[in-house]
């Protein structure tokens, strides 16, 4: 049972909200209605632990997250300023101890996110009533807890969570097979068509020629061979027909799950799909929100007294670090860069092919297309296509970007390159599938024993073996038969297996 956190916003904040919203709309931002709630620290950490939702199903990992958030906050190691969830209406949470200038910034930032949620194509398939859906999930799982016991449900959820990222985030945008016709194809044939099709491989000949043209013993043999080949094919037949990336869906369709297990796995999968676009658009989404909070704050929001706090907070958010790129910073700067380029006409063949530095430096066709361009980009791109299309060599140089790689010998990450092509490639690699391995179901009838065979598509980075083994253990709990994953170990193809009691790793 969750406690209602609803309390009326103080009038100052209400005024700020109304003002920010009006400015946001005037700039063309198009948001769902946005409901702000003011939370204290404990509530904020609780909501954050639950991924922003007031009600989630019971599980210890939310407790773990809560503990860590509360501690890091109290020790001043990290601060959560704001949280917003993709829902219609959008819900956003403010921390009651933040200064007024921070609240303003956060509200402006939130409107950027809300516009992004509503308009970006990658969010178009997400459930906009997720608040209700999450509560519904919680109710269903609580019911199973009552029926089969807390331990059993919790243990099963642990196993599912181990596999939660094995989905295909693109599948919601693709129709891989035509809609299934409500009438089975076979029903369109007449009853005796089957027999005819199966048995009569030849056209009947005239009566007296029949035994010569279609000798019965040959027909008999052919029929037997056909039958054998059929059986053989059936025996060897592997499914799925082609590698399937949505491992969770495959398990839902084929794993021997009890009804409550089936439902819980489908809940985990639903939630994974709901959260997937946030991972796919982290740079864009944060960049867009930062772009708008800077625009709204510097042009409208700030009073003179707030400028310094704002500058301090803002610079803290967009600080750079050698170990990773800051999505806020890169996203914000890329949007600014694009706006500038499309305003001045620094794009297209003419600009790209211009070799004269001075001409390029002064390039300004006064097109003024920047604003329109970034609105278009926020609609159709995700991080991978965004970086692929708009990251330029000049940008990399200006922002001192580099790629780094792990050095086996020194056991250190080292700067690998400052070449644009390599930086971009590395960045795209780390963004693709959130930098996680691609895993496919290849064969669910491995060795003709109903064993599950997965494959890891090699991208030059090896799997962590201990984690792979433990994940297989959890997978086996769902599949009930031995499970395998094919991967690369020390540059050689290998298979890691778990049969329910033992792990085994062998070269393929």
């Amino acid at each position: 049972m969750s406690i209602s956190t609803y309390r009326a916003l103080p009038p100052e904040i209400q005024d700020i909200q109304a003002e920010m919203e009006a400015h946001a709309r005037a700039y063309g931002l198009d948001c769902f209605e946005t409901i702000f709630e003011m939370l204290n620290l404990e509530e904020l950490c609780m909501f954050a632990a639950y991924g922003g939702f007031p009600t989630r199903y019971p599980h210890w990992r939310f407790g773990a997250e809560y503990d860590e958030l509360l501690k890091t906050h109290m020790y001043g190691l990290q601060r959560i300023y704001e949280m917003v969830i993709n829902n219609d209406p959008c819900y956003a949470y403010l921390l009651n101890t933040n200064e007024l200038s921070d609240q303003k910034l956060v509200i402006a930032h939130v409107y950027g996110h809300c516009d992004f949620f509503k308009n970006n194509a990658w969010f178009s398939h997400t459930n906009r009533k997720m608040l209700n859906q999450m509560a519904n999930h919680a109710t269903r799982i609580t019911r199973y807890v009552e029926r089969v016991g807390y331990e059993k449900v919790e243990e099963f959820i642990d196993a599912c969570l181990s596999l939660e990222d094995l989905i295909d985030p693109h599948s919601v945008h693709i129709r891989r097979q035509p809609e299934i016709s409500p009438v089975p194809h076979a029903a369109l044939l007449r009853e005796d068509d089957f027999e005819y099709l199966q048995q009569e491989s030849r056209l009947p000949a005239k009566g007296y020629l029949q035994p010569f043209i279609n000798p019965p013993e040959v027909l008999q043999k052919e029929a037997e061979d056909r039958h054998k080949a059929e059986e053989e094919r059936e025996r060897k037949r592997s499914f799925p027909d082609e590698p399937q990336r949505d491992v969770l869906l495959f398990l839902l369709q084929h794993a021997p799950l009890k009804d409550w297990q089936h439902d819980i796995l489908s809940i985990i999968r639903d939630e994974a799909y709901y959260f997937a676009p946030q991972g796919q658009t982290k740079i864009m989404n944060e960049g867009w929100a930062c772009f708008w909070h800077t625009t709204l704050m510097t042009r409208h929001g700030l009073t003179d007294a707030e400028v310094i706090d704002y500058a301090d907070h803002h610079s803290g958010t967009v600080a750079m670090s050698p170990q990773r790129i800051n999505p806020y910073k890169i996203g914000l700067e890329l949007f600014r860069d694009i706006e500038e380029r499309w305003n001045t006409g620094r794009f297209g063949a003419e600009y790209d092919h211009c070799d004269d530095r001075e001409t390029k430096r002064k390039w300004d066709k006064q097109l003024g297309l920047g604003r329109e361009k970034i609105f278009e980009i926020r609609k159709v791109h995700n991080d991978v296509t965004f970086i692929d299309t708009y990251l330029t060599a000049e940008f990399c140089e200006k922002h001192k970007m580099f790629s780094f790689a792990y050095n086996d010998d020194s056991e250190n990450y080292e700067i690998a390159s400052r070449e644009f092509v390599e930086i971009k490639q590395q960045l795209l690699n780390s963004l693709t599938n959130h930098g996680r391995p691609f895993i496919y179901v290849v064969d669910a009838n491995h060795r003709n024993r109903g064993e599950l065979y997965l494959a890891h598509r090699d991208q030059g980075v090896e799997l962590r073996q201990d984690y792979a083994q433990d994940t297989l253990t959890n997978l086996q709990k769902l599949w009930a038969r031995p499970v395998h994953i094919e991967t690369i170990i020390d540059d050689q193809p290998a298979v890691i297996s778990f049969d329910g009691t033992h792990h085994q790793t062998k070269p393929k």
């Binding site: 001043g76 996110h113 670090s321 050698p322 990450y413 959130h434």
Partner: protein, 368 residues
């Protein structure tokens, strides 16, 4: 009314304490919470539980970063999970900001967390010492101490007053007269000096994990004692069959093999105290860490040295036994025999990283 998060949080704690779901014990990880001491990152042990996933290992991994540096320059060991970037959230958008901590704040956190009492130092009240505190503002000073906000405010005020400020182009340029700097005042305080002697067994049976535990614990002890004393001195002794005085860096890195003779370290400690820290004027703390392995015939010698002169000259003599797969752990039993006689002899067993906090509390909880 209970909140649902309390139920989940409770459940998590039960799992960490090993009361339920033994299967998850192996995924419990520590020191995920990072604080910063200047440029160095220190870890604060906080338990969390990993859920295993198919993940990339370090081999062949990499990412993209920003900043200065040549190709080939190391940028860190990275965390266990080697996917530099790409941790991107499968969670609601939220805005997180890291903060830096001063040592003083760290010590305060520790004190509060462990309910440590403030130390009542012994020492000569007549000796006085000067303590410098940065608690004022001055119109002069080095650039590194420039108070940005004050400077900026003065510049802004000046520009508004002189009608140079244009809100449509809010550019503020501070002049020399606007600049303000952090400055210090001197406080005169009664002097209380303290010395810490760290003794660590580096024989073959102490593994890297054991030494990491010692390092973490020593860091926190240092931090706490430093917040309690102005003039804190440290000395480091490592020993296997023989003892050496070493510098801090060596203390944490040395690895020897071979047997163990604890008495050699005690003799060395005694020499250092006589040489550097007259007992009448110094608060002396001795922290010894070992896996409890010692040559049997050496034990009686150790007890003798401990009871005269080591324990009597120290505020605290703390022995921390770090559990090791190789050590016998017998030394603790020897110490327990004489524990009753000395109230400043404190013993603690440190099973794993989780045990560090409890051990610190045991050592420093008396306020001596």
């Amino acid at each position: 009314m209970t909140r649902s998060i309390d139920r989940d949080s409770q459940r998590f704690k039960e799992i960490v304490r090993g009361k339920v779901r033994q299967g998850l014990k192996k995924y419990i990880t520590h020191s995920e919470m990072l604080g910063r001491k200047g440029r160095e990152v220190v870890s604060i042990p906080v338990p969390s539980i990993d859920i295993p996933h198919f993940r990339h290992g370090k081999k062949g991994s990499g990412g993209v970063g920003q900043g200065e540096g040549e190709v080939g320059q190391p940028i860190g060991k990275g965390q266990d999970e080697g996917d530099g970037q790409g941790q991107a959230g499968d969670e609601a958008g939220r805005h997180v900001r890291e903060a830096e901590l001063t040592l003083e704040e760290l010590a305060q956190m520790l004190g509060e967390e462990l309910h440590l009492p403030r130390i009542q130092p012994k020492g000569d009240e007549n000796l006085r010492t000067i303590r410098t505190r940065y608690n004022s503002i001055s119109p002069t000073g080095p650039k590194s101490l420039r108070h940005f906000k004050r400077t900026y405010k003065r510049a802004l005020r000046r520009m508004i007053a002189s009608d140079e400020y244009d809100p449509r182009k809010p550019i503020i340029i501070p002049t020399r007269e606007d600049e303000r700097f952090r400055s210090w005042t001197d406080e005169s305080l009664p002097e209380a000096n303290a010395a810490i002697l760290y003794i660590m067994d580096v024989s073959g049976s102490m593994t890297d994990e054991q030494k990491a535990i010692v390092r973490t614990e020593a860091f926190w002890i240092d931090t706490w004692l430093q917040s309690q004393y102005d003039g804190l001195q440290r000395r480091y002794i490592v020993h296997d069959a023989v003892a050496h005085e070493v510098d801090e860096d060596t203390f944490y890195r040395t690895r020897e093999s071979g047997g163990t003779r604890i008495s050699s370290a005690y003799v060395k400690a005694q020499q250092i105290i006589e040489r550097d820290f007259p007992v009448a004027q110094w608060n002396i703390y001795i922290f010894q860490f070992s896996d409890g392995d010692n040559w049997g015939e050496d034990n009686s010698n150790c007890m003798k040295l401990l009871q005269d002169p080591l324990i009597p000259s120290a505020n605290l003599f703390c022995y921390g036994q770090v559990e090791s797969p190789y050590g016998s752990g017998d030394y603790l039993k020897e110490l327990k025999k004489i524990q009753g006689k000395w109230d400043n002899l404190i013993l603690s067993e440190i099973k794993d990283r989780d045990g560090i906090y409890e051990s610190i509390r045991t050592f420093l909880g008396k306020g001596k």
